[in-house]
Symmetry: D2
């Protein structure tokens, strides 16, 4: 599913802290169950080719998995876990799985939980880490949110590395999105500058499914399931009254993956509006006219809009020439849901054929649920491979999924390049097929 140019093999090279000379303590080593992954194993970047043509040059990600020899002495190691940014289903599962993998399987001496995101890596914030124990983590995967707490924003990497060194931490797991992994990259660079022996291994997290080089992360599917449920309710409202319109706003500041996936899962949506496709309201091909034709034909309609869609319309409305930003430079979104509600009601009132519009904005509801079975499985894979990578002294990377295989993605190859839903690809075709929104 690459949406951007193939990187070079050099760009996919993974940093390591040093030699791996310690035999792994994994039970698999003894029972012969696990299969160790040799360090030069790669997963091809591009796998689609034309028959009769030579395959692409062999560029690929380093394959994740247990190494037979590792870098860190587990009994002398201390790992730390930090969760950052907005909530995502499965955070607690990742923490729990990282903990058990370290303690039970590698025998890591101690696992710290950092409080409230990167804030907890800055002693000035006064939030002491906690030593994770079996009784603290054993049931957390049944709950949404994060036991450790979270917050937004980075800290000075020098302060962070000072803190890690003062605590004797030699493995740091950073669970978060693009911003978090940028922060992790800065920490890894500061570690490298000092020549310190600290591995920084991330687990990507994004409710919007917009992280480059990770086709899917944990939590997304749980959010889709909740969003589907909301859409189904809007559909029930719409079909129960004459000229019923159900309007649902979903998360997705820049990427429409959640809106698109929930649309397909639901099978009840007639119009899906995402940030990647321009929103046209007026004119014969605009949403309002199309919606009118749909209502005339079927008497009800469901509209789903991602929160980041249609911002150019809202700016035009306000006379802004550029997005407004907050102090940190993040774009301030105007509320497209309320705007559409107003415009749709107004339009059909104006033409003398009013609609009965029911608006649902579930906001955080879709992300604070606990992980469903699928995402539980995802978190286990990410956490297990993150620990394998860290114990082998790999650093400055996160765990990704590529062509169905778990891989090591150098942070420098992903950060700052968020994925977008390509309207020329399969998922958008599916949305257009399911909704029929081009047909009206």
């Amino acid at each position: 599913m690459p949406d951007s140019p193939t990187p070079t093999q050099q760009e996919l090279a993974v940093s390591t802290l040093g030699p791996c000379e310690i035999p792994t303590p994994l039970a698999e080593a003894k029972g012969g169950h696990g299969r160790f992954i040799e360090d030069d194993t790669r997963v091809m970047y591009d796998v689609v080719f034309h028959e009769g043509h030579d395959p692409k040059p062999a560029i690929g990600f380093e394959r994740a998995g247990p190494r037979e020899k590792i870098h860190f002495q587990p009994a002398k190691s201390k790992a730390a876990i930090v969760t950052c940014g907005g909530l995502c289903p499965g955070l607690n599962n990742v923490v729990r799985n990282l903990f058990y993998m370290h303690r039970r399987h590698y025998g890591t001496a101690e696992v710290l939980g950092i409080r409230n995101g990167y804030q907890g890596l800055n002693p000035a914030e006064g939030q002491e880490p906690i030593t994770l124990t079996d009784s603290l983590v054993s049931s957390i995967h049944h709950q949404g949110g994060t036991l450790l707490g979270t917050s937004r924003g980075p800290q000075d990497p020098r302060v962070t590395v000072d803190f890690l060194q003062s605590q004797g931490v030699n493995i740091l797991h950073t669970i978060g999105g693009d911003g978090t992994q940028r922060g992790a990259h800065a920490i890894a660079q500061e570690v490298a500058r000092r020549g310190a022996d600290i591995a920084v291994v991330g687990v990507p997290k994004t409710i919007d499914n917009d992280i480059r080089h990770c086709y899917q992360t944990f939590g997304f599917m749980s959010a889709v399931a909740e969003a589907e449920r909301v859409i189904d309710r809007a559909h029930v409202e719409a079909i129960s009254v004459p000229r019923g319109v159900g309007l649902v706003k979903l998360m997705g500041r820049h990427a429409g993956f959640l809106a698109a996936s929930a649309t397909i899962a639901s099978g009840e949506v007639n119009f899906t509006i995402i940030p990647e496709a321009p929103l046209v309201l007026d004119g014969q091909d605009g949403l309002l006219a199309r919606l009118g034709r749909r209502l005339d034909a079927s008497d009800h309609a469901v509209v789903v809009v991602a929160e980041g869609a249609g911002q150019e319309l809202l700016r035009a409305e306000k006379g802004d020439h550029a997005p407004r930003v907050d102090a940190s430079g993040n774009e301030l979104l105007s509320d497209i849901g309320l705007y559409l509600r107003k415009r749709i009601k107004q339009h059909f009132a104006d033409i003398g054929n009013p609609v009965e519009l029911k608006y649902i904005d579930p906001s955080y509801y879709v992300r604070s649920v606990h992980a469903n079975a699928y995402d539980s499985l995802m978190t286990e894979k990410f956490a297990r491979h993150a620990v394998h990578a860290a114990m082998a002294g790999k650093t400055d990377l996160f765990i990704g999924i590529w062509q169905g295989h778990m891989v090591h993605v150098p942070l420098s190859a992903s950060c700052g390049q968020e994925r977008r839903l390509s309207t020329g690809r399969d998922m958008w075709s599916a949305v257009l097929t399911i909704t029929g929104q081009e047909r009206w």
Copy 2:
């Protein structure tokens, strides 16, 4: 649970269309399973007394249930069902249960489904009724909403009765809230004026649980369950960040039953704000100061507000002296959820100790779910007894639950007297206990 003066026995007397001389065709009659209810059986209105004192004079509702002799010849009867007003979990169950009770058990010749509320009883609206069949209704109880469609507002009762007579309908089941039952009362009065032989038997429906003389209706508990789920998500958001506040707005224009019940069910709410209790924001005992003390003590808080709460504050803010109303005279509510969001964020920013507030307004989400098991059981009881009542020629009533028994409630004894949550009673005590909102 009477919240108002005991009515007289006269006020609780039920209207009947005429003699009951036809032996019931119920299978129970043959097998001897069912126990027939004698027509003079009553359920006491007041059941609480002081030991040693004589009990209250024997005032009571007519007890619902199958009569041994009935008024209508089933094979010559045609029933019609209409669902009105906002959606409520279980509407489809009521329709399905009414259908099966009529067709399978009494052998009623035909059951019509009226389209889109009272509109469908006015031929000028052009919405023909549909003849219900087994295949139309067999699976509808697994879906929210109403198969028949719904709408708000009454029709001229003369037009309605003309229509019923033209269709040969002799039993009309009106499923809806206070407004619907007022409309049903008008229809029953028009029927009586004409001396027509048409029974009007309602099933009360209210997501707000605010119908007088019906301690609980179907659908309410399903909505509470959905609201609890939303509150739990807000709680997850609140506990996952420093100084986290989860704010949830719930339905409840005039009555706080839903907000109160969801609060108790969830066990995670710290402040519950309902229309029946004045909202004070400022001052040492105001919500903002209490919320501050709660946050200082526990670092997170969950606030639930019913949509009809705090309207006097919002009016004061706007300089209105009285509620604004729409064309039909219904009060236009200002959005207390958005107002609280703004005021809470502002207050804590102003005092230099900002909060991380997450707002969820599930709106229609809580009511468009299908009925849960409890409400399925409720709908079955209401529907079964509505058919028993109608076949016995009872009219101008709805089915209620009183002291745990199914009863006939004359429409005139309930309509126009919506229930409110009494802040001097058990439920509000439970809310204050669970939230501890008086303690801060």
Copy 3:
């Protein structure tokens, strides 16, 4: 819903430990929110009467609720909670609500959790009680089971009272079914014999809903909801194949409430078999012939059987003249589900028209779920009133619901008299109506 003769007022009299002279510390007392219940308030036992006839003599249960003056000094009190017998949804909610009610609202000095049922009240078992804390109980209501552990069987009441006295416990809350409350009664009697100042106040618990004088308890409705889900799956299996039969076995050793309620809630069952109604398999009116007629007409059928049904058939099969019992005298049930599966398959194979039977025995699945919203509300009521009763020095009782009101039920008026589903009453009529099982 009385299924047995009306008791005398004497039989409903509640025991008390002594005078109530301490002003309640409840916040309601100050804010004036709560309404105190005067001690001579009663809830009528029989509320159904015939118009024109004098009401029944005023016999009633003592009404539960907060008393203005209480018996125990909270700051010097120590409460203990024990959960006994099989799991039931909501046990953790009861524990949590009892804890908060004692600690936050009355200010009880300490609340102990007894481990593993009555075993934990016998020091010889070596299971020390735990002191409950906010962090131990704050999230337990989201989980099924019981934090405290449970077990079956009684202990010597003298040992128990010795233990309570040695621990300084003056309030004991016993959460359990008929056997547990019999045990509680024995403890209360031993307390009385010693003239000790220990209140024994129970909360009834039964997945079978079979406790006399408590129309409904917590947990039952959650189990019904799970059972409904299982039935719906069996229905899906049945309708997806030619001549499909879904057969579901549900809990219910002696009472068919769960099977009956799940049948009504589901609306998809064709035959419901309960212990209270004899099971006839053979002959023109037997289940096998009826099932055949149903399949010929509709090509699928769903059969629900309670585990305690048909035992007389199974005994006849084995040539037993009386039930076999285990060491404690409990009847050993034969597996009616497997028996029916065999007989049904055999019968239709024998007549050359085989069926496709799918059998589901969810066993404990329906009872280990966490409480749903309805049961959460129930547990809160039971727990709150149990603490009110205990603080007022009431003893040898459990909290019941009667005619919709919370009441004090003397243990002697309930124990040893389990409820059965009366086949002459409303619920069984509903089952016969919904299933139509008499029609085939």
Copy 4:
């Protein structure tokens, strides 16, 4: 995830019915949204390589997707859909998506639903196909099972092709598992023998996830989610009593994917027993001794067993030298769940330290649920690409997922080679890690 030798490119070649000269009517073609897939596009079979070594020779599956020119004239085409074998979540979604894809997007003239599996393709069975319509299929995806009905077993392919030709069907979609696809292959071969113009395009279905060349199919994840729920209940039972053991039997006749995945998703299992790994009960390293050590350490344990596990033990017990088979040659499984229940209880009773064992066998419960969001997305992909393939005249194939891409899998390359869970691979490592079952 190839578990077997790489096939040759020849083995992966897809059969076609003839030239593709008709411009696709897809709306995407006009709007330019969709990207057409050129017919020589392949997805590499092996994507793992060692850096520095030449990649594998370019062998790959034909990539699925819309072709710019198609083989069939939609307005003259008639498609038929058949669902076969055991239920699987998502069958109705596949039917619905196939229907909409054909009717709305390609404009296929008619879509037939074949009744009750391959039986419905044999006129002698007397089950006429139904013409699918919008109102028949619009809501079926909210229900488990299959609207069309299903059955097991093949029919004579000559009879089938006669029937298809007599009905004018030129596209047949076969939804089913390995047996079904073997039947489809026989039909396609008979079509080829006759030179008929009928495309046979399957959608693989297996609750056991055991179809070769399809890494994952629809429905499996919904079943895992239900199985996880059951395991969590068994865990609740186990932790609520002293020495509690929860024992759960899950589907999986030959493959342990469901048991393994549910184990990982749940995170609460201590021992997982699958058909692919031998079951040893006795001895120091046997399950009974390990379970004893686990109980001594933690006082509770959860055991999950796939129904096909341990059959060799059961045969030894019975003195059988080979599996018993039914008339069709399918192995008759003995009930390993009941056997383990007996053996575990007996063992711990014998050593004087009995356990409290709670057994749950959800059987069909896990497969008759409707598809969850993840599986809804899966079904949409499979159905969409099946229609694309059929319209382009591809035949004798099913739609698979390979390295994350949708591909055409020739039936001959998959049938008769069911997948097994490799105990040397990642999933089994995860199970051993999560359960720790090697540690005790």
